[in-house]
């Protein structure tokens, strides 16, 4: 089968399974949107009336099919928590925050870890290598939300480099928005930078041990030239795959960090929607996140083919 058809089919099958799985999980969860919405003042009649309005009185299979019909058209229904807003509207208003956060983190990861990895691999056992080794192990062990709290404490409260909670929406002042997002992005990036540096180092070392490097050296090329012309390009291959894989983790990290920095992104929306049993919004977010991760992996595959046509 053609590469592209195969990819597209697996894309659709994966999204469908993710949607079905989260749908089933939602059925197993105790409580529903009607009970969550009415709280302690609920009467049995009011709960029944609201359940009927949300369509909970219909059989599960019928609800999944009707949800699917809407979802195919990109219509994920109304939020049950926020009156008068569709799931898409809610997500659209949160998306810029999470995408900026994840995007900035990925750029930081690439900009910081690739040069460091290369530098350390060039001189194994050197100062840079030893320091980065220790730092990497430390930062890999610290979860991003702890890093986030530490950064808030040190840079927000002690050094006053930013105002904790001083989030500015992007449409109000894009410059201040980006400036505020730097610290959350660093919190997401740090553990991943640690991992990527280790990976990059291993990958470069593997290449350096290859016969073609020895040959190139024997021909009298400088280490610098070899590194740049051959080793870097070849060792990038596995690293790109790795960064592709990391996208999913960066998204997950962003969701966590949004709670720490009080950012109104997808993560807080997801957590709140689950707590309120806002099924339509949760389901939409799950599908969008799954689609993003799959899309990034698809792009990685394509880049791979460009870099190495043998694949």
């Amino acid at each position: 089968m053609n590469f592209y058809i195969r990819k597209i089919v697996s894309f659709i099958v994966t999204i469908l399974s993710v949607a079905l799985l989260s749908f089933i999980m939602f059925q197993v969860l105790p409580g529903d949107a009607a009970v969550a919405r009415l709280g302690t003042e609920a009467t049995p009649e009011a709960i029944e009336a609201l359940r009927a309005e949300y369509g909970y009185d219909r059989p599960v299979s019928e609800r999944f099919v009707s949800w699917l019909k809407g979802a195919v058209r990109g219509d994920f229904g109304m939020s049950m928590r926020y009156e008068g807003m569709t799931a898409n509207e809610l997500i659209a208003s949160r998306l810029p925050v999470t995408l900026t956060l994840a995007g900035m983190s990925i750029v930081m990861i690439a900009l910081v870890s690739l040069p460091i990895g290369l530098l350390c691999a060039a001189r194994p056992g050197g100062y840079a290598d030893r320091i980065s080794e220790a730092a990497a192990i430390t930062f890999m062990a610290i979860p991003s939300f702890v890093t986030g709290l530490l950064i808030t404490l040190i840079f927000g409260i002690w050094l006053r480099s930013f105002t904790p909670g001083g989030f500015v929406p992007p449409d109000e002042d894009a410059g201040r928005f980006i400036r505020f997002m730097i610290f959350p992005a660093i919190s997401v990036a740090i553990p991943k930078i640690a991992m990527t540096v280790q990976y990059m180092k291993a990958s470069v070392r593997e290449q350096l041990a290859c016969d073609y490097v020895r040959t190139a050296k024997a021909k009298g090329n400088s280490l610098h030239g070899i590194m740049w012309k051959h080793v870097f390009r070849n060792s990038m291959m596995p690293v790109i795959t790795f960064i592709g894989l990391i996208v999913a983790e960066v998204l997950a990290g962003s969701i966590m960090i949004e709670q720490v920095f009080n950012l109104p992104g997808m993560g807080r929306l997801l957590v709140n929607s689950i707590a309120n049993r806002d099924f339509n919004v949760v389901q939409a977010i799950v599908v969008y996140i799954a689609a993003t991760v799959l899309l990034v992996n698809l792009i990685v595959d394509l880049v791979y083919r460009v870099l190495d046509p043998r694949v």
Partner: protein
């Protein structure tokens, strides 16, 4: 009747004075200085569940909407009912008819004057009597005895099908315009602040209502309620200076803020208890319930979870209900391990037993209380397992489904004694404890309808005694509320109901120099 009206007039005048108090005392004391203007940010930890006051159910929403909406009456800080949209009210001697005279100068935020039609529409909607009922309007269940609401020459007359002299406390229910359909997105009320904007999970912004019927109120030009992810992130924002007022400090946080901010403490007006499912073994046995009561050291709980702030209670009533509150019940079950073991032995459980406390995990205060309770119960041989559940799960499994053994939670109330006790009548849909006592049901009905205040007080004390005697639950405390207020501000006021009254807050330094 004349006397009642005279009292009402007096109350009108006092509201006008006390709704925006302060500023009169000009002894040259600089700490008393009152400035008009300025804006503040108040941190809250729960997103609003609706902007429509008749659809909002969460206490965390109502306390915010309190600033936008008003009822016919309001509650002042001492627990008196004072007229708001109404200028005076009368309750007929038989407790069947409530007559409200409306103020003439009350305007909605859209500039329209409040008419009796608006009031009738609002009350009918809140009572579930509206011609086009909406499924998600949370009706005031106490209003189900209202048979008719009419306009009598500009006065609004509410007729009841059975006498209830306490219904007045529920007329704090918001008055909204009758011909307006965008209440859920652009709310309009009569309160001291008007709605500007709302962004889910971010903030709700309000500005001063310049047309408010009380001259010189409110002080501030605006307020932003900022929705924080949790108390920890709110605390960081307090330290960082982006929040001026935060009403839900934990005890530890308050200690850390000492000297940096003013810490004001009041009461949450909640009944915190270890609620026991009276229909499930072993708590279907009154001796076991009493044993649990004896085995709990309430003061130790208050010391551990709240640094000693909070008041021990002995029944389902909190001290703010001063005249109805039976203080003698506080010591009904003193901490007595020997007595607890004796009662357990009498119940055939000399070796103790194991049970589960289901606690909503979003309430750290209740979770920590559960840990202390479990420790204390272990000393008399009772093993308590703590199960943390999400709030939605708690609502559906514990509160609605009644599928639990015990739970720790705080019960809130309107300012009517029958409302505090609404969880106990055996036929009540809110009776999540499955409590059942025919005597209680009987006294409860007569307490609600009696018009004589001394008989009413006797009845309510009797009800508290019945609950304590039955050990319907192991009542713990009326928790303290710790509020952080910026040192630039003053006037934060506690009420016997759960509200954040921004109208009373003002700057003590010139907000322009900030």
């Amino acid at each position: 009747m004349k006397k009642i009206i005279a009292i009402m007039m007096l109350l009108v005048m006092t509201t006008a004075l006390c709704a925006c108090k302060g500023g009169t005392d000009k002894d040259g004391n600089s700490s008393d200085s009152v400035y008009y203007g300025g804006k503040i940010t108040v941190g809250i930890t729960q997103d609003l569940d609706s902007l429509d006051p008749h659809k909002a159910v969460a206490a965390g929403t109502k306390e915010v909407l309190y600033n936008i909406f008003e009822g016919l009456i309001k509650v002042d800080k001492d627990g008196n009912f004072v007229p708001a949209v109404a200028s005076s009210y009368e309750i007929s001697d038989d407790g069947l008819k409530y007559t409200f005279e409306l103020r003439s100068n009350v305007k909605f935020h859209n500039g329209k004057t409040v008419t009796p039609e608006d009031v009738i529409y609002s009350l009918k909607r809140a009572a579930g009597l509206s011609e086009t009922p909406e499924a998600d309007v949370s009706t005031v269940s106490a209003f189900n005895i209202i048979s008719d609401i009419t306009n009598d020459n500009g006065k609004v007359v509410v007729t009841l099908s059975s006498p209830n002299t306490e219904l007045i406390g529920y007329f704090t229910s918001s008055i909204i315009p009758c011909d307006y359909t965008e209440q859920a997105t652009k709310p309009i009320g009569t309160g001291p602040f008007k709605f500007v904007s709302y962004s889910p999970l971010t903030s709700i912004v309000l500005e001063k209502n310049a047309d408010y019927y009380i001259e010189g109120c409110p002080y501030l030009d605006g307020v932003t309620f900022k929705i924080c992810a949790n108390t920890d992130s709110a605390f960081l924002e307090l330290l960082g200076g982006s929040i001026d007022v935060f009403p839900y400090l934990t005890n530890d946080q308050a200690a850390q803020l000492e000297g940096k901010m003013n810490i004001v403490d009041g009461t949450m007006n909640l009944v915190q208890a270890l609620f026991l499912n009276n229909a499930v073994a072993p708590f279907d046995n009154v001796k076991v319930r009493q044993a649990v009561c004896y085995a709990i050291d309430r003061q130790a709980i208050i010391n551990v979870v709240a640094g000693g702030k909070g008041e021990i209670i002995g029944s389902n009533m909190f001290p703010s209900f001063s005249s109805y509150y039976d203080k003698s019940l506080v010591n009904a079950y003193p901490y007595d391990q020997a007595k607890a073991k004796e009662l357990l032995a009498e119940a055939g459980l000399a070796d103790g037993f194991t049970f589960t406390i289901t606690v909503p995990s979003n309430y750290d205060f209740h979770v920590r209380t559960a840990q202390v309770v479990a420790d204390q119960l272990a000393k008399v041989g009772i093993t308590a397992k703590i199960e943390l559940v999400e709030w939605s799960t708690w609502l559906s499994d514990v509160y609605v489904g009644r599928n639990y053994t015990s739970t720790i939670i705080g019960l809130d109330s309107q300012l009517a004694p029958s409302d505090v006790l609404r969880f106990y009548p055996s036929t009540s849909s809110k009776n999540f404890m499955n409590y059942s006592n025919a005597e209680f049901d009987e006294v409860f009905e007569s307490a609600k309808s009696t018009t004589r205040s001394d008989a009413k007080i006797d009845n309510y004390k009797k009800l508290q005694q019945i609950l304590t005697g039955d050990a319907a639950a192991a009542y713990l405390q009326s928790p303290a509320q710790l509020v952080a207020v910026s040192r630039d501000l003053d006037g934060y006021t506690f009420y016997p109901v759960y509200v954040q009254d921004i109208a009373s807050i003002h700057y003590v330094v010139d907000p322009k120099t900030k």
